[in-house]
Every structure is written in C-alpha cells, then in structure tokens.
C-alpha cells in the first residue's frame, strides 16, 4: 500500500491534538468546578506569552526553556525508539553538567581559546552523561538488570554524588556575598554567544543551534542510517531484529551511550548561556524530558512542538496567580495531556491497525482477517520485553 495512506499517518498526528484538546477540556472542568472562568485564564496566559508588553521577554524565555526540554526529550526518545527506558536522564545530566562546569572553569584551560573551550565543555558533558548511562547499559547487557530500575537507582546515586562533589571541599566555591555553593564561574570567553530578540533585552541561548543540530542528527540517525533502522527494528520487534542478525547487546549499549551523551547536554544551555556556574538548583528536567518525549511521540519535530507547548505552560503559569487560580492547574494539565496522549496513541494505533487489516482483507478478498497478525509501525513506544 502507498506510503501516503491516510490510515497510517493521520492517527499518529491526530492523537496528540485530540489529547491536548481533551486535557484542555479536563483542565477547564477543574477550573469551572472551582468557580473560575477557563476562557479568561487561557486568554491571560496567551496575552502574557505573546502580548505586546510581556510577549518578547516571554517568547525568549519560552525558547530558552524549550531548548533545554528538547534536549532532555530527545535523549529519552532515542531510548524509547528501541524500547529502552532511559529514566536516568536526570542523573546523567546533573553529573554531566557538574563535571563539565567544573572542568570548564579549571585554570589549566585558560590559554585555550573560547570556542575550543566551549567545545571541550560540551565534549566532557557528553562523555560523562554517556558514561553514567553506560553503567545501566552494561548492567542490562551483562547482568540482565532492567534499565528502568537501574537508571532510577542511578538517578539517586548521581544526585548524592552531585551533592557530595558540589561542596567547598571538592568542586564548589562559595560565591561572594551569598551562601550558595557553586562551581567556579566560567571565564567570559567560555560563555556561549547568544542571539538578540526584537523588543527585549533578553537574549536567546546560543545553544538553541546545538539543540536544532541534535534534533536534525536524531532524525538523520533514525531515518537515514543503517544504525537507525536497526534501532527501530529492535524497538518494534526485538525477536525479529535478533533473528535478522542485529546484535542486540551492541544495540543496547550504543543506544544507551548515545542517549546518555545527549542527556549530558541538557544542563549546558543554562550553564553556558545564563548561569556560567553550576548551582544546586538544577533538578527535574529529566522527568520533564520523559513527558515531552511521550507528548511528541518520539518524533524530532513532534518533540519540538511538545517542548514549546511545555515551555508555554511553564512560563505562563505565574500569571494564573493574578487570576486567583492555583498554578498547580498547569501541572495537572501537563500530566493529563501526557496521559491522554499515551492513551490516544494506543487507541490510534489500534484503529489504524484495524483499518489496515480491513483494507488488506478487502484486497485479498478474505472475509475474515486474523486479528493482531499485521505488524504496524503506528505505535510509538513499544515495550522491549518480548513475548514468551
């Protein structure tokens, strides 16, 4: 059947849209039940994000947030596509940011020109992220430990190491005039150049370019390389993949390392573009990444939209306070969206599978079609566990 068969491409696109509408409806009901006007709340959010007065600053902020979210989500999505759950982006990026930040501020790098220094910081972050993810990969391949459990545990261990290292005894210094312990401030030549934005003095992270490159690389890797094909094949049907000669162990290790390397980048937009030092405050971005990857259906462009939507909701929730609406409504909306997206995704996959089976049945003139016998690419996330 043709590649442009609507039964194949329409449901995966329609599902997130429907899910967002559903989540908006549920959030509206929540607001109505507490006596608030959802229309007004939404209007003031849009006004805050895109209006004349606050719009430019909001848009810059949203782009910057989305950059970070995007990297985190791509890291998760790479694993998802082959049925690997890298729940450990959180731990990977925190350790990576800390070590890259401390490395970048080290004195022995002072003779190195700025761009190379930035490049080295990025490399260190990716290596650390990949290494931390690699532990989970090795445990999975050689000891049969589920990566879901090991990455969760490694998150906590990583968090502890982060807290341990970011003290004055090791990598931390106390900033003058404050009690906060951070890594030493990066020299100005290692600050990433940023872009101006009309009508505001806020600037867009230069790292957004790298995020776009990562997105492009993700698309290219998945859709245009042998490795990407093997990866998707392993995700859709591990048994068939192994039978066709794909080395499952190598795939798991490579995928996990790539996922970890991308995860290592998550903290860098903030480090190189805004803070110039690692503070204790970075946390939670890994789990946001999971949500956004699910929302974007693991698709490079879908994730970009999802990241922007998430950034919009995150940015504009403060305005709800003025309407006496609890900001938490937004968190509910975000999580309901994710839940609705995965449920809708499953339903859509089932629907398109049935449609295809029906058309195959018609084409072959069979009156009845065996259910569940046609493998379809519709479902974005498939479990790595194989049937016994």
């Amino acid at each position: 059947m043709s590649r442009l068969d609507w039964r194949r491409w329409l449901p995966p696109i329609l599902a997130p849209v429907l899910a967002i509408l559903l989540a908006a409806a549920i959030s509206s009901l929540v607001l109505l039940s507490s006596g608030k006007d959802p229309g007004r709340a939404f209007a003031s959010m849009v006004e805050y994000a895109f209006g004349e007065r606050t719009g430019p600053a909001s848009m810059v902020d949203m782009l910057n947030r989305a950059t970070t979210f995007y990297l985190s989500a791509v890291a998760v999505a790479i694993g998802f596509r082959m049925g690997l759950f890298n729940i450990g982006v959180e731990g990977q990026f925190r350790l990576a940011t800390l070590l890259a930040g401390a490395f970048g501020a080290a004195a022995f790098l002072d003779p190195v020109p700025g761009p190379i220094r930035i490049f080295l910081i990025i490399v260190v972050a990716m290596v650390v992220g990949a290494a931390w993810a690699g532990i989970a990969a090795l445990l999975r391949v050689y000891r049969g430990v589920s990566e879901v459990i090991s990455t969760i545990m490694l998150n906590f261990v990583g968090g502890s190491i982060f807290a341990f290292l970011l003290t004055e005894d090791y990598l931390g210094v106390k900033q003058p005039g404050s009690e906060n312990v951070t890594t030493p401030i990066l020299p100005a030549n290692a600050w990433m150049p940023s872009f101006p934005f009309p009508n505001t003095n806020q600037r867009v992270f230069g790292f957004i370019v790298i995020a776009v490159l990562v997105g492009f690389g993700y698309w290219f890797l998945l859709g245009r390389t042998r490795f990407g094909f093997d990866l998707r094949a392993s995700g859709m049907n591990p048994t068939a993949a192994v039978a066709s000669g794909i080395d499952a162990k190598k795939m798991i290790i490579t995928t996990m390392l790539i996922s970890g390397a991308v995860a290592g980048l998550v903290g860098l937009p903030g480090l190189l573009g805004r803070d110039h030092a690692v503070t204790t405050s970075v946390a939670g971005l890994g789990f946001t990444g999971i949500a956004i990857a699910l929302l974007g259906r693991n698709h490079p462009v879908g994730i970009a939209f999802a990241a922007l939507l998430w950034a919009f909701l995150d940015r504009t929730r403060i305005i709800l306070d003025l309407e006496q609406i609890p900001q938490e409504t937004i968190v509910i909306m975000q999580s309901v969206t994710v839940l609705a997206v995965v449920v809708m995704g499953e339903l859509a996959a089932r629907f398109s599978r049935r449609q295809q089976q029906r058309s195959v049945g018609r084409a072959t003139g069979e009156a009845t079609v065996e259910r569940g016998s046609v493998a379809v690419a519709g479902a974005g996330v498939t479990s790595a566990r194989e049937g016994s």
Partner: protein, 416 residues
Amino acid sequence: MTTPTLVSTAGAPPATTRAQRTRRVLVLVALALVAISAVRVVTGATDLTSTGAISAALAAAVPIGLAGLGGLWSERAGVVNIGLEGMMILGTFGGAWGALTFGPWGGVVAGAVFGALGGLLHALATVTFNVDHIVSGVAITLLATGLARYLASFAFSDIGGGPTQSPVVPSLPKWSVPGLGWLAGIEQRGWFLVSDLAGIIRGALTELSALTVIAVILVPVSYFVLWRTAFGLRLRSCGENPKAAESLGVDVYRYKYYGVVISGALAGLGGAFLSIVAASIFREGQTAGRGYIGLATMIFGNWRPGGLASGALLFGYTDALQLRRGSESVHALLLFIAAVLAAIAIFQFYRGHRVVGIVSIALAAGALLWYFTTDQIPVEFVRAMPYVITLVVLALAAQRLRMPAADGQPYRKGEG
C-alpha cells in the same frame, strides 16, 4: 507454574524443604546479629542496636515496605507499577486531609483510598487501554505530584497551610507490648549480644504506631491471600500466564484491576504513614523516592512478601542510622559489610564461583580499607546506600531472581 517455592532455576541445588529454609534464614539472622554486636563492641557505635535506632528503623521501613507490598500485588497480577511513587504522593495528601477532616483513622482510610484511585487510573491505562506500563507509571507520578499540590492548595490554605504544606495533623495511638521496661537496664550495660538483643526487642515492641502494626500484619496477610487462596492463585496466574488463566475461565482483566487497585491502596497507606505518623504533617516531596525504593525491595525480595519485608527493614535500618549520628554509625557498619562480603566470598569459592568470589574479596578489602583510612562516611554516601545496595544486589543476583513470567507484558482478551 506457580508453586509456592522460592527461586528454583535450572542448575540450582535441589529444592529444599520449608523447615530447612527456615533454619537457614534463622542461622543467617543469628550470624548477622553476632557480627553486628561484635562490630558495636569493637567500634563503640552504640547506635547500631539501640532502642531508638531500631524503632526508627522500623518506622522508616514501614512506608518502604508498604510500597513494596503494593508493587508485589500489582506485579503478581502482571502489571509493572512504576507509579507507586505517585500513588504514595496521593496517599500523603489523602492521609493528611482525611486526618484533619475525619480524625487520624479517617486519614488512614483516605490515604488508602487516594492511593487506590491512582491505582485505578493505572489499571485503566494499562489494562483497559493497553498503554505501556512504564509510560503510564511515569505519567501517573507526574499527575500525582501536580494533583497533590493542587488539592492541598484548596484543602489547607484556609487552615494555616498551603499548596506545599498542611497544618499539623492529629496522631494515631501508639501501642507497646507491656512489661518490657526492665530491658532498658540491660541495654545500658553494653554486654555483648545480650544488650543488643534487649535494644532490638525493645525497639521492635514498644511505642509502635497503630499503622506500623497494621503494616507488619499486612505482610503475612498478603502472603496468605496471594499464595493460599483461590483468589490469590487466580491473581498470580494473570501475572504468570494470562492466556492460560483465560482459558481456565479467569476474568484476567478483573484480576489485574484488583491487583493494581490494591497495589495503589497499599502505596497510599504508605503515604498516609508518612504524613500522619512519621511527620505529622503533609509536605511536598515527602515521599522522597520511597516508592522507587519500595519497588527495589520488591525486586530483590524476589517478588515475595518475606523477601521484600527484609529488604524494607534493611533500607529502613540504613535510613535510621543516617539520622542517628549517621556518619559514625554507618562508618562502623563498613566493618560489618566487609565481614559479610568476606563470608560471601568464602561461600562463592566453596561453590566454585571464582570470579564472583574474587570480586567479593576485593570489595571486602575495599570496605576494610575505607574503614581504616577514614573516621566517618559523608552523609551523601549514606543517603545513596540503599540505591547502591540495590544495584549491587541486582548485578550479582539478577539471574537468580524470578519475576512473574508475564510481568509488564501487554495482554488483550481473546488474542491468545
């Protein structure tokens, strides 16, 4: 398929009888006690077996154990429940809100009900809609975090709290086994083994919160229901081979729902323990990953109630030590760990596993070296301990663990 034996993988020694196993466990416990007692005498870290430490360990073990039991019920029915953390969060809110509204027992019930609602959502997503279990669990944890804040901002704002905190909640009664006062005197003496036993008995039997007692009872109850009743057999058959269960007339969907909802209720109960008993207050982030630790205890308890209860006690113990002069107490424990690792090494050499034996010896030497070159362990390392232990246990024993055969796999009725 689901006989109530422990792990019996190919190549394992012939199945042992129940009595033999019990004896082996008792011997191990006794040996551990002697070792701990010796470590206490040698290092002078009295908190290793003090009444306070033991009762704190028990209190810390309860929420972890309840979460672990929750995981057990769900995974025995074949549904991976990574949303335990979220269901616990719902339980912390439910517990505080119920306790403030209906009194402390109302809080216990409300905590379980809120957790069960989280479980119901997970069941709806995974069983009815066939969503991937991990994905649904992650989404539920996200949702629970937001929902707890949202509800708390309504429930507590007018009575002296807010979205992240509740006012102090009324507490549950505390129970003690009477007539144990004289043990305090013995504990003070610092005798080898005797004083340690006195401390442990006093810690485990006095000043118990009612919910602790309930939680402890729930472990054998879970075992009995899951392994000794027809209901439990059917539920476990859904986790082992749902198609076979279906062919025998078991309504697999219904049993999966039961398992996951009970799972949520237990996790919610664990959350309620945190807000009503442990802290007397609802606070955001109160669960601090205990849902995940519960999951870990279940895994290295080999999906068995007894195993997960021991795991929970172990984690509770390290948790409690960390609060009681943690750096010194846990430092003393290094000596104990070295001894245990050395014992494992000897056992592995005896069994002919040279590589594992050498690794164990190396780790034991490392622990010993660490003990002698430092005076205390950084508190961050103490905090990471349960997670590291879990990883090490999984790495060393993953092949010996046996999860329910169809755990985490999608199941559609009539597609067998």
